[in-house]
Symmetry: C2
Subunit: 303 residues, 2 copies
């Protein structure tokens, strides 16, 4: 595959940034990678893993060599990072990111870099782990990467960013930022919020000890603890940045939960069974479309 960019800059070398670096090394070995992280410790750890071709805790003139910069920092930190890089950017550099909310990030980037070519992106992939050590090259394979260019976006730049993600194994889709934020509110933000809540609820009971919660977690609870172990700062920013869509989805969820609560209270077994039958079909579709493991129990080890 021909490489869309000769040099890229990755800003933030955590799970996603370091996974991009590894995937680029594998799929686009001739692409030069400039690695940035404001933490010198993270830079040193990334260097020990040989993830990039250069490591910088601050932006400098070398940044102008990058044809694309990918911001892989929490969405609340995008504006600060963009402002810091502004003096060192070339006018041709494409600015992209991997943030989980797109409307707020686009606003922040446009405001910090009014003249820049901006192509926001969101690879819908991840794990519960953080830091440069937790990344891996196949993270984006078979996952979707959503581009949310606005009216001002350059068509050629969008094509190059799409080609980049395809080279890393992702499927690319394009939609507007507001719709992205609504879709992800339900497929990602609401699930995380609910998982964080239930894990909090379970650890605050007076009649059940925390040790019991842990011992008997295989009854279902442990499934929620995985995403409730995700990066706290990243997720704080997501909820605050996509507030309207998250609150709207939360409202709908609460209404549905109240309806189910009422069905239990009034012994409406048929209502329960009808819902529980319907939800089974969704899992089947997710597996058929390659978005989850077909093996039972997510393919967990059973031995």
């Amino acid at each position: 595959m021909s490489q869309p960019f000769a040099t890229i800059a990755i800003v933030g070398l955590g799970l996603i940034g370091s996974s991009i670096a590894r995937a680029v090394r594998q799929a686009l070995p001739d692409t030069r990678i400039l690695g940035y992280d404001r933490s010198g410790d993270v830079c040193a750890r990334a260097q020990a893993l040989d993830l990039c071709d250069g490591y910088h805790a601050e932006f400098g003139p070398e940044l102008a060599e990058a044809q694309m910069v990918i911001l892989c920092v929490p969405v609340g930190a995008m504006a600060v990072a963009a402002t810091a890089m502004e003096p060192h950017l070339s006018a041709q550099t494409i600015i992209s990111d991997v943030g989980s909310c797109k409307a707020s990030v686009l606003t922040a980037l446009r405001s910090a870099l009014p003249q820049a070519v901006i192509v926001p992106a969101h690879p819908v992939a991840g794990t519960e782990n953080s830091g440069p050590e937790s990344g891996f090259a196949s993270l984006f394979k078979g996952r979707w990467c959503i581009l949310t260019p606005d009216d001002r976006a350059d068509v050629e730049a969008c094509g190059k960013v799409a080609a980049f993600w395809q080279a890393l194994g992702a499927n690319v889709e394009t939609m507007d930022a507001a719709h992205h934020d609504l879709v992800l509110a339900v497929t990602s933000h609401l699930p995380h919020l609910i998982a964080y809540t239930i894990v909090g609820t379970a650890s605050d009971l007076e009649g059940v000890t925390q040790s019991e919660v842990i011992k008997y977690s295989a009854g279902g609870f442990r499934d929620f603890t995985r995403i409730a172990a995700s990066d706290p700062v990243m997720w704080r920013d997501v909820f605050l940045s996509n507030k309207d869509a998250v609150l709207e989805m939360l409202q709908r969820f609460s209404e549905d939960l109240s309806a189910l609560q009422r069905a239990i209270r009034w012994d409406k077994g048929d209502e329960l069974e009808a819902l529980f039958t319907r939800t089974r079909a969704i899992r089947r579709s997710i597996i058929e479309q390659g978005q989850d493991d077909a093996k039972p129990d997510f393919g967990r080890t059973h031995q």
Copy 2:
């Protein structure tokens, strides 16, 4: 290991019943297994898999040969099954079960079999799949099996049931039925209820298509679809049978969710971050205690 029982009867040959049969074949090969399922089709499928030493769609005189009967049917079907087996039981037969609620099951069994030796049990293990084909011998390894004998329970019988589950690889714990129902309401029943709800909410949106929900499910949503694919009848019965504890946990969860909703609405980032940091520690403990895979993403295949 010496076998606690020469002959056992398994009533209900679905995921749990068939897993017990497989585990017995492996760990206690000299134990004879009588298999029962009111569905002739399930009996035939279990026979094709060679799970038991005999297959019966109805109870008959052979049942008296079993030193232990394990009821592996939905908790709402326990009373009917117990009543049907009553004429064929020997007075010495230990009656056990694998139901996810214990107080209601104990009441049902005592009422159907007032003279029987009853040792209720709950192996906290399972997958989202149903039917005899979905069972496997290692399902109970390293998981907990909770016994909830009441004051009338025979100590020797409890010891034998405990030895049986230990032979299958489980750790055994004993507690009273009411406490079991409270603990499991939070570690199992509430998670299932919430998972069913969010999958329902996501499939009912007018602004987001079902195909989008499926495509972008790797953002977190897919984690919930696994347990929302669990057996509808089994779970309908669980919620109705453990109503009080489930409604109590649901109430606490809703309060906590409202608090988080308010924190988002009023931009209380510190509150969010504090909760999200706390929940991370719980996952760590679950992994340390061997109750979940240490591999990221539950050990899902990434390729």
